[in-house]
């Protein structure tokens, strides 16, 4: 019997450094996402708790550091339960508060705009609260080398800080965005643990300004476009306008990727640190390629459905002995077959879109991040021990009910 333990494929030269890798295959993920997506549609959305759990299990098991994968141990039933708890609490808040706001808005402002604005504003703090709680749940259900991660319960503190820093960012016209990114990340990191070891976020918020350079160049180009278009002729604004349109999306991606790198490399857990060398260009390419591919594919499929439908109707018209086909009947909207085709197409497009986003955007980006990650100071891992379980009864229920929109 050979004694070949499942060892990391290429052990790094320095045993103190653990390299990250991503081992999942796209076609496996495709089938998992497709299968669970169909079940979600067929169960009118109830299977989504199982779908999320299974997708996370797959992703987590695909990410390995030093050959040992993460493990996701979340349970779909606890997600469903958490969702129900959140619905009970939020139903009252949203139903009654919205109604009172609408009344006040009709009575005082003779319109419903004030009510929509206020009810939107009223949900924002709960939204941040839900975001933090969802993160706490996911971390509490994530393990590496058998040890749990954990996040301290401090969601309201996160909610008001988010409001404050978002406010500052808006008031400063975006100039204080790095401050918001840094402070909120520090709030979360400083409350995160792996086993008995606590993480700390080092660095300063000003270190994120270089990450924003392309964003600021894009904004300057945009402002220049506006100024030129108003002061001289719009023709002269074409070049800076084009530059702004090209640079701004890249600037956003560059900011996300580069700030992630800086924030990751300044995190510390006892003497353990992380190194990360992500490529913004690569991530940008994944976004552009993924959306283009998914868009073109879905466009082709919808075109095909359209022509097959018309063909089928031509066929039936012939069967009834009429040789003319009036395309108008397709748009009259009351035909039960057409309604069925319409509903089926809607769900199919929705399903396929989310599957393609998983396989051509989320997964490649995660694969890239995992493969450029390194853990330094691995010698210190052996002294860390397990932490107690965080029950967290309503799981990510608030985030689920409010559709906070975690990608997985």
């Amino acid at each position: 019997m050979p004694d070949a333990a499942p060892a990391p494929p290429t052990p790094p030269a320095n045993p103190n450094v653990l390299a990250g890798e991503f081992v999942g295959l796209r076609r496996h993920l495709f089938w998992l996402a497709f299968k669970t997506g169909i079940l979600t549609v067929l169960t009118l959305g109830f299977y989504r708790f199982w779908m999320k759990t299974r997708l996370r299990r797959w992703y987590w098991s695909a990410i390995r550091i030093g050959g040992i994968p993460l493990e996701y141990v979340g349970d779909p039933i606890e997600k469903l339960l958490g969702f129900l708890v959140a619905v009970v609490i939020l139903a009252f808040y949203i139903g009654v508060v919205n109604l009172l706001l609408m009344f006040a808005s009709f009575a005082l402002f003779q319109g419903n705009f004030a009510a929509y604005l206020l009810s939107f504003l009223g949900v924002i703090p709960i939204w941040f609260y839900a975001q933090y709680r969802a993160r706490r749940y996911v971390l509490a259900r994530t393990r590496w080398r058998g040890l749990r991660f954990g996040l301290e319960p401090a969601a309201w503190g996160y909610a008001w800080r988010s409001l404050l820093y978002w406010g500052l960012t808006l008031v400063s016209a975006g100039l204080l965005w790095p401050l918001m990114t840094f402070r909120l990340e520090k709030y979360k990191t400083d409350r995160t643990s792996w086993g008995t070891a606590r993480l700390t976020q080092g660095g300063r918020w000003t270190m994120l300004y270089p990450s924003a350079k392309w964003l600021f160049i894009g904004i300057v180009a945009g402002l220049a476009t506006a100024v030129i278009a108003f002061s001289s002729s719009p023709d002269n604004a074409l070049l800076p306008g084009l530059a702004a349109i090209l640079v701004l999306p890249f600037g956003l991606v560059y900011y996300r990727v580069d700030s992630l790198r800086r924030l990751t490399e300044t995190k510390k857990m006892q003497e353990i640190t992380l190194k990360m060398r992500p490529s913004s260009l690569r991530v940008f390419g994944i976004y552009v390629g993924g959306y283009l591919f998914a868009g073109i594919l879905l466009g082709l499929i919808m075109g095909l459905v359209f022509f097959v439908t018309i063909g089928a109707f031509l066929g039936t018209a012939e069967n009834f002995g009429t040789d003319t086909f009036d395309p108008e009947i397709l748009f009259q909207g009351n035909h039960p077959v057409l309604i069925a085709i319409g509903v089926a197409t809607y769900f199919a497009v929705f399903l396929l879109w989310s599957v393609l986003m998983q396989t051509y955007v989320t997964m490649p980006i995660m694969r890239h991040y995992a493969s450029v990650l390194e853990l330094h100071g691995a010698d210190n891992i052996k002294d860390i021990r397990q932490r107690p379980r965080d029950e967290h009864i309503e799981a990510e229920g608030f985030a689920e009910a409010l559709d906070v929109g975690a990608s997985i």
């Binding site: 299990r57 098991s61 139903a91 139903g95 009709f106 009575a107 419903n112 080398r145 009910a401």
Partner: protein, 379 residues
């Protein structure tokens, strides 16, 4: 003892990695099946674990299909990682589901969630809306109606300035005469603002603050002015009971609550609209029936036969307004057949009607849309 449940143990040993869930270091382990104990033996330099074969479970959805990750049923922490699947045939319950441990809790919360959403969307919100509608100041309500009217005019037309108002003066005065005849038959006539919109839809509706909108299509399809007056009286019924205002308040409360249930499922928005439509239909079935009853009384007192409403409904039906089955639940009006019968039954025996408009006035009303404007003097 069944052979199928307990396959004969193989002599071969496997090498795996064991995580004890306390120390973050993988422990090299020798693993084999002990047939006599019907157990998986995991032996490391320090410890020996005995996992009953029936209790060994597979961790599903692994990205690395080559490896096997095992756990012990009832033990949340310990994991055994094997490099291949050779051991799998020895584990009869490897893919058995975890039991739902919080079953009763789950049912309680599910019932609570359904009950609270139902209670809030169907009881509390309508109740509050009915109460609050009484307290909205009339000028606020009127302005709200104007905003809604502008939205509807915009939504029904591709033009920038929306559907036009029909404003030809003789037609307008015929309409005013019709309005006077109806309001004089009421004890406390409400403040009304009546518009005719230049749109082929065969319909009419009431908006918050006493706005009543008649479409050109309705005037075109009506056989006589009395039929229009019947629909007019029905809409006044809505105004008197403040249905439009209550409806606006209700949907503000219920749409948010329902939105919670769907989350991001299939774009959520479509499901939400359908459900909201269903609820709105339930609300307004009562309101429609009440407005019909109101119309019978006013018409009768104004010397117009309530059967005119039946005639107009029959015209709706011949135009395809009658929908049955599942779709009927999404429509806010009670089945037309029932309403036609009720309207005919509301005509007292020996009822004598008085003429509403002269032939020339009726012709004027039919040509009210020969002159249109983006602004209605009626406002």
């Amino acid at each position: 003892m069944s052979d199928a449940l307990f396959p004969p143990a193989r002599r071969d040993h496997h090498t795996g990695r064991f995580f004890d869930g306390i120390v973050p270091m993988p422990i090299k382990a020798e693993v084999w099946v002990d047939a006599s104990q019907r157990a998986l033996i995991i032996e490391t330099t320090d410890i020996t674990e005995t996992w009953p074969l029936l209790d060994v479970r597979l961790i599903p959805d692994q990205a690395d299909k080559a490896r096997l990750v095992l756990r012990l049923h009832g033990d949340p922490l310990r994991r055994l990682v094997l490099p291949d699947h050779r051991l799998l045939p020895d584990l009869p319950h490897a893919t058995r589901r975890a039991p739902v441990i919080q079953r009763s809790k789950l049912f309680v919360w599910a019932a609570a969630a359904v009950a609270s959403v139902g209670l809030i969307a169907f009881v509390l919100v309508p109740l509050m809306a009915d109460q609050l509608a009484e307290f909205i100041p009339p000028e606020g309500e009127h302005a709200l109606g104007e905003v809604t009217l502008e939205q509807i005019r915009g939504a029904l037309s591709e033009n920038v300035d929306g559907v036009h108002f029909c404003t030809k003066a003789p037609g307008r005065s015929a309409l005013d005469q019709m309005q006077n005849r109806l309001t004089q038959a009421m004890d406390a006539p409400p403040q009304l603002t009546v518009h005719v919109l230049d749109h082929p839809m065969v319909n009419a509706f009431a908006l918050p603050g006493g706005h009543i909108v008649l479409f050109k299509g309705l005037i075109d399809k009506a056989a006589d002015p009395e039929e229009i007056a019947a629909v007019f009286a029905h809409e006044i019924g809505h105004v008197v009971s403040r249905d439009p205002t209550r409806h606006a308040l209700r949907s503000a409360g219920s749409i948010g609550v329902l939105g919670l249930l769907f989350g991001d499922f299939a774009g959520g928005a479509m499901m939400l609209l359908l459900t909201e439509q269903l609820i709105a239909a339930q609300y307004s079935r009562d309101a429609e029936a009440q407005a019909d009853v109101f119309a019978y009384q006013v018409l009768q007192r104004a010397g117009i036969s309530p059967a005119e409403l039946a005639d107009m409904f029959e015209r709706f039906r011949s135009l395809g307004g009658e929908i049955s089955g599942i779709e009927a639940h999404f429509m806010s009006h009670p089945a037309l057949g029932d309403r036609i019968a009720q309207a005919r039954a509301a005509v007292p025996t020996g009822f004598e009607s008085r003429a509403l408009l002269s032939q020339s006035q009726w012709a004027d009303l039919q040509t009210i849309c020969d002159q249109t404007s983006t602004f209605d003097q009626a406002q």
